[in-house]
Assembly symmetry: C2
Homo-oligomer: 219 residues x 2
């Protein structure tokens, strides 16, 4: 019985996701869905990207959290348009929420909207939110078995950012195992080794990201 109910919600979500895509295509806005565990570094990656790309792209952010507005406050202090979505207990963001929130942005003056999804390696991967592409973050302290344990997240992502890469000496983490696991699931995924703390690898990721965004907004 439960499986049937979940399917109904997912089908409904797909329709709304398509509607969000259509709106954003018309406005030439690229939507990036950023996902990962609690504490993997989603906000740190987004703020790093803002600093690197804000001179060439007009950026907006939707911050998803179950409660509070800690991350939205950080983005707001950078002078970037941000809206906080509080899911009030829900473990993922649905397309319907994004559809409602688009009206809070001046889409004529936005090139890319980053959505920071709820910290969760499971449920967010099941729900399209109208995104052009997905970025999954896995941080070194989480361990190198996570792709095998949470396959859907990594099978559906366009890029994997291995974050906190500067912590590699302190944890048993075989980064080649992780890369191979991801490529086995998903040959198209691009893998990056990044530390948002030291800056290692971040320019390379930003460069890939801006190329992907350019494809959308110039189409």
């Amino acid at each position: 019985m439960e499986i049937k109910i979940v399917k109904q919600i997912l089908e409904w979500n797909e329709d709304v996701s398509d509607a969000v895509k259509a709106t954003l295509s018309e406005k030439k806005v690229c939507l990036v869905n950023v996902m990962g565990s609690p504490g993997a570094g989603k906000t740190s990656l987004i703020t790093d990207i803002i600093n690197r790309l804000r001179d060439t792209l007009r950026i907006g952010v939707i911050e998803g959290d179950i409660a509070g507005a800690i991350d939205a406050d950080k983005i707001d202090k950078m002078g970037i348009p941000v809206v906080q979505l509080q899911t009030d207990g829900a473990c993922h963001i649905e397309a319907m929420s994004i559809q409602h929130m688009l009206s809070f942005f001046d889409l004529e003056n936005i090139d890319v909207l980053f959505v920071e999804n709820i910290g969760n390696l499971v449920c967010p991967a099941e729900f399209n939110i109208g995104e052009d592409f997905r970025v999954a973050i896995l941080s070194v302290p989480e361990g190198d078995d996570k792709v095998e344990k949470y396959p859907l997240m990594f099978a559906t992502t366009d890029a994997l950012v291995m974050n906190k890469y500067d912590m590699l000496p302190y944890f048993e983490f075989d980064d080649k195992r992780v890369e191979q696991n991801v490529l086995d699931l998903n040959g198209k995924a691009k893998v990056f080794r990044v530390s948002t703390k030291t800056g290692e690898g971040a320019a390379e990721f930003a460069s890939w990201l801006s190329e992907r965004i350019a494809v959308k907004i110039k189409s």
Copy 2:
């Protein structure tokens, strides 16, 4: 509409949770629900506890994973009865699954069953599984804002284990902030600072755990 559906599932789950509790009370088996993010150290904490308590308690383990049996293999190699629950995509364990799985254990010869829930700070907290008490793990690399962001998990736990405590010098993590956040939500929670790698704090946690288990199995 979605909220209504979730409530129906939760109510059904509560009935089954009560049935699991009744069965385990009759058999004098204590059920411990271990929760935390992917990579927080749930398996490491359980294997540490097995090593510390296996001479005085008869232990069994239910390993919950979306896919695979990596953790169950580790427990099996220790000679401990273990059953793998694969949720096949679901983000949490429900009481119905535990009810089915009890038949795989010789409950007359078990004092405590640990359930390692799916790595997720959100959904598992919403579902009682017949547990006597809950242990939530938060690891230092995840960051000190997680109690504010994922309140239900920490509001409903009996113990918080701050794991990877040996990593404190390498991360900005205010352990007193975390402790205060938890106590604000949940005055009855006991807070432990543990490193399953170095062993720091683990004996203290094991001692608390064995006292809690003894209350149940001698009742």
